[in-house]
């Protein structure tokens, strides 16, 4: 190998230093997730897909619960032959993860036997198990909703005493907290019950198509497997319904660009019966379909549409204008279904023989069978349940803040979930002792320090990966969930090499070529800056961003593959999209003119 072509290497974990001044904030993360010298021999990568921003101490619970459940599913439940679970570490607020491969052939063979008894059973009984899964999830949600609000009355309510309840309200605090946490860990177990098997069915069909049609594009295969009915499309469908309804009731003029939710609601109330009718319709949509976060749901500040109506309200004017212009807002479900069936039939016809056609038929039907889970679980898990969970923690924050622990309820998220239990016990004991809790003197300076650390970490670039580079990455979990291959690592290594090319390359996610003004949207708060006809350039999109696709001409993202949310929605809207570029948000300047070629996965910077 030419010396100049020798890849640069990723730094060792032990060489990454905690940023000076943030050491105590770093120490808040528990010992198992701190990097140790022994971690130097292993390959790690920064999980920027799920955790693009530094983690506050509490939000770390998501990494902990998710990797716990993912690992259990892979290592112990389905027994994937070549891989166990995923280890995670946190430094400077960033989550690094590393997979544990199985390489011993005897062990792989042993696990293969186990895997086939387990996974094949799931594939064979998918519908039944998925119906059961939905019942479990709905029950879990119901239980979470039924959990009492944390309150500490001055005196125990008389009815409790007369009923001989025998436990006091402070005990309920601890029980509610522990059950809330238990529910969250349980939810993540449910989340991973089908996930890898679902992605595996997708990848099986991908692999088959790539073999049969070596030059087929990923997006064509994605269009064949993409489902049409899934819960995750419902929130956007509800918005369209509400926009149509606003036009029918002639109240759509109340949704002025720039008006606050309160102003709009007030002016609707003032509009009399039609305004009230619309607000009633809004209520029917909200439960459950507005339980959707303006993020992936992995951070406490990814609030739901229900918590903050500004996101759904902002989409109403655009949809209402389309209704007034006589356009149908219905998702063309029948047409999408027909197009998909035609595409599948056309490729089928090109296959060599009937044996191949039989395999193709079975694999596409397997992919379609798993789709409702793969797309649908996000609504129940990452959105609805996560939203209930963070809001319950927020209630504890409000109670603690009322007792002087914090300046604001939101500060609760700067305690780890272990520390929070300690703070609740502190309050519990003080309430029963009739003395003052210790928290008000203890926590405010710590919270201030951790907030400052997050601000520092957010400004600090972090390496995309750490440790020795593996020759091949064939961990199916990592390839499926993060799209990381040896090739993408080489791209990461060359990204910082001072290339002055005016191109950004990624996955060709949705065909078409357009030019326009790039709008860099780094967080949900910046969505309002998008003008009609802009090109969205973002880190990653999620289902709540769907309504903004009516405004944009094309989408470019740093993270994601051909089955990512941005790719799926862009294809439905017929917009060009390039995803998984790695560095579009840093390489493209806000306001810059760019050309997006979604068929080739190339973004050209024009000036």
């Amino acid at each position: 190998m030419n010396a100049q072509l020798k890849p640069r290497e990723f730094p060792l974990p032990s060489s990454v230093k905690v940023i000076p001044g943030t050491e105590r904030a770093q120490a808040a993360y528990p010992y198992p997730v701190q990097f140790a010298k022994s971690d130097d021999s292993k390959f790690w990568f920064y999980n920027s897909m799920h955790f693009p921003e530094p983690m506050s101490a509490f939000d770390m619970v998501t990494a902990e619960a998710a990797y716990c459940a993912l690992g259990a599913a892979n290592t112990r439940v389905h027994c994937l032959p070549t891989t166990l679970g995923i280890d995670h570490r946190i430094i400077n607020g960033r989550v690094y993860i590393g997979g544990n491969a199985v390489t011993d052939p005897t062990e792989i063979a042993r696990r293969t036997g186990e895997f086939q008894q387990r996974a094949f059973y799931y594939y064979a009984n998918w519908e039944k198990l998925y119906a059961q899964w939905k019942q479990k999830m709905l029950k879990l949600i119901e239980d979470a909703r039924a959990m009492p609000e944390p309150v500490l009355p001055e005196f125990e309510p008389l009815e409790n005493v007369h009923a001989g309840r025998g436990i006091a309200s402070n005990h309920d605090l601890l029980v509610t907290y522990q059950q809330t946490l238990e529910g969250y860990f349980r939810m993540w177990h449910h989340h991973f019950e089908f996930l890898l098997l679902g992605y595996g069915a997708y990848l099986t069909f991908f692999g088959f198509c790539k073999k049969a049609f070596p030059e087929i594009t990923d997006q064509t295969i994605a269009r064949m497997v993409a489902g049409i009915d899934a819960e995750i499309f419902r929130p956007d469908d509800e918005l369209r319904r509400l926009a149509r309804c606003a036009v029918e009731l002639e109240v759509d003029q109340h949704f002025r660009d720039g008006a606050t939710v309160e102003e709009i609601t007030r002016s609707l109330r003032a509009a009399g019966a039609p305004g009230h009718r619309w607000l009633d319709e809004l209520q029917t949509s909200r439960d459950p379909w507005f339980n959707i976060n303006v993020g992936d749901g992995f951070y406490h500040y990814h609030r739901s549409w229900n918590d903050d109506l500004s996101m759904p309200f902002a989409a109403i004017p655009g949809y209402a204008r389309s209704v007034r212009a006589g356009e149908s807002l219905d998702r063309k479900v029948e047409k999408l279904r027909e197009e998909r069936a035609q595409l599948i039939a056309d490729y089928r016809e090109l296959l060599d023989n009937d044996a191949e056609r039989a395999a193709y038929d079975q694999m596409i039907s397997l992919a379609h069978r798993v789709f409702p889970y793969v797309e649908g679980h996000k609504f129940y898990c990452e959105h609805w349940y996560t939203n209930l969970f963070f809001n319950k923690i927020r209630s504890f924050g409000a109670l603690l803040s009322a007792h002087g622990f914090f300046a604001s309820a939101e500060d609760v998220f700067h305690l780890t979930h272990y520390e929070l239990e300690g703070a609740i016990i502190d309050l519990m004991n003080a309430w029963s002792a009739g003395s003052d809790p210790r928290g008000p003197a203890h926590w405010p300076p710590i919270v201030a320090e951790r907030k400052a650390a997050i601000a520092v970490w957010a400004k600090h670039e972090t390496p995309p990966a750490l440790g020795p580079i593996p020759d091949v990455i064939d961990d199916p979990a990592i390839v499926m969930l993060w799209g990381i291959t040896r090739e993408s690592l080489d791209n990461w290594l060359s990204a910082g090499a001072g290339t002055d090319s005016n191109e950004v390359r990624g996955f060709a996610a949705s065909s078409g070529v357009v030019e326009g003004i790039a709008r860099i949207v780094k967080s949900v708060e910046e969505i309002a800056r998008l003008q009609q006809g802009d090109i969205l350039v973002c880190h990653v999109t999620n289902p709540t961003w769907t309504p903004i696709f009516q405004k944009i001409r094309a989408a470019v993202s740093d993270i994601g593959g051909s089955m990512s949310h941005a790719a799926i929605v862009a294809r439905e809207y017929g917009l060009p999209a390039v995803v998984g570029t790695g560095n579009a948000t840093s390489k493209i300047k806000d306001g810059q003119r760019i050309r997006v070629d979604g068929g080739r996965g190339i973004v050209t910077l024009l000036r």
Binding site: F213, P214, N353, A359, P476
Partner: protein, 345 residues
């Protein structure tokens, strides 16, 4: 009658109109635009050959050549081709051809044609005999048409053709040639397309190569063509290689073609627009469906009308042969699942 119009013939007529003629007729019947023309059937060749044979044997002369007797073949080729050159057609035959040629021109306009060999052994899936016979472009005088037809016939007796036939051990009596006389297309852009990938054999894509002017520059390799890969079903264009096209072939003033430099501004400009790529895709699918197997197609876009015309289509052979030997692929989806999860490789 020794003349057949394209509209009246199809692949089944190959024994009498040759592979190229049969294919052009078949295409026209399938509703594909081809430049108008007719075929001088093998019976014309037979009549002419009979006239030649009256003086001294032709077929018997070839049949006695040994496959490894290169010198003998060289001498036979030289002798036989000069006999074709020196012997005019029987008058009645010449009149039939000239009448058809005149009918090609509307309103007495002198029509410019391509005169192309259409051998009965050519263009079949199992013997890629292409390129061994001659084609004459841009022929514009009646006498010249007759002369070029004789040249096509005599190309059966070129050294290459003789060598090929003797090595394959083909019986001489079965060797005959039809000749296609077809209106010439003054191409703005011309090229070839395969209805499967020449690189991977992928049947879901169409590989298109094209250059400015007549297709001869591309076929002869004198210019590096622009190259596209178009997805057959979806029309996506995942590959676009635009090359530096230094020269092109254009019709010469006095007949024939000539090489000309391409203007600087045009050299690196794609010689096909996206809509034209999509029209090619549509035609390719139609032809492939018609024949029921992947095709190798020559086409041109007429300079004045911008009309897409098909010049030739024949079955793709390279991948078709490879596939025959390919091992059967596994059809159990759960085994495919295992290849993803890594238990079995």
């Amino acid at each position: 009658m020794h003349i057949s119009w394209f509209r009246d013939i199809g692949l089944a007529d190959r024994p009498t109109v040759g592979g190229k003629g049969g294919s052009l007729g078949e295409l026209q019947r399938a509703g594909i635009d081809v430049p108008p023309g007719f075929v001088v059937r093998t019976s014309a060749f037979e009549e002419y050959l009979a006239a030649l044979e009256q003086r001294s044997p032709v077929r018997a002369r070839v049949a006695q050549l040994a496959a490894d007797d290169l010198e003998g073949m060289r001498a036979a080729a030289r002798e036989l081709r000069s006999r074709f050159d020196d012997t005019p057609m029987p008058e009645a035959l010449a009149q039939q051809i000239l009448a058809a040629y005149a009918a090609l021109g509307e309103g007495g306009r002198k029509v410019i044609v391509a005169v192309r060999s259409s051998a009965t052994t050519e263009d079949s899936s199992d013997a890629s005999f292409a390129g061994l016979q001659d084609t004459y472009l841009w022929v514009m005088e009646p006498d010249e048409v007759l002369r070029r037809i004789r040249h096509c016939w005599s190309s059966l007796y070129s050294l290459e053709s003789l060598t090929y036939r003797r090595r394959q051990g083909m019986p001489e009596a079965s060797v005959a040639m039809a000749v296609v006389v077809q209106t010439m297309v003054d191409a703005r852009t011309a090229g070839v397309m395969f209805t499967r990938s020449p690189v991977t054999g992928d049947r879901s894509v169409i590989a298109i190569e094209a250059a400015w002017g007549l297709g001869s520059a591309l076929v002869s390799g004198e210019v590096t063509p622009d190259r596209w890969v178009v997805a057959k079903i979806t029309g996506e264009i995942p590959v676009r290689d635009i090359s530096d096209k230094a020269i092109c072939h254009v019709p010469a003033a006095g007949g024939g073609t000539e090489e000309r430099p391409v203007e600087d501004a045009q050299r690196r400009t794609p010689c096909l627009a996206d809509e034209e790529l999509q029209s090619l895709r549509a035609v390719a699918r139609k032809i492939e469906r018609h024949y029921g197997q992947p095709q190798d197609i020559e086409w041109a876009i007429e300079r004045n009308t911008q009309r897409l015309l098909l010049l030739q289509s024949r079955p793709e052979t390279v991948w078709a042969n490879k596939e025959k030997q390919a091992a059967p692929k596994m059809s159990d989806p759960l085994l495919h699942v295992m290849s993803i999860f890594g238990g079995q490789r």
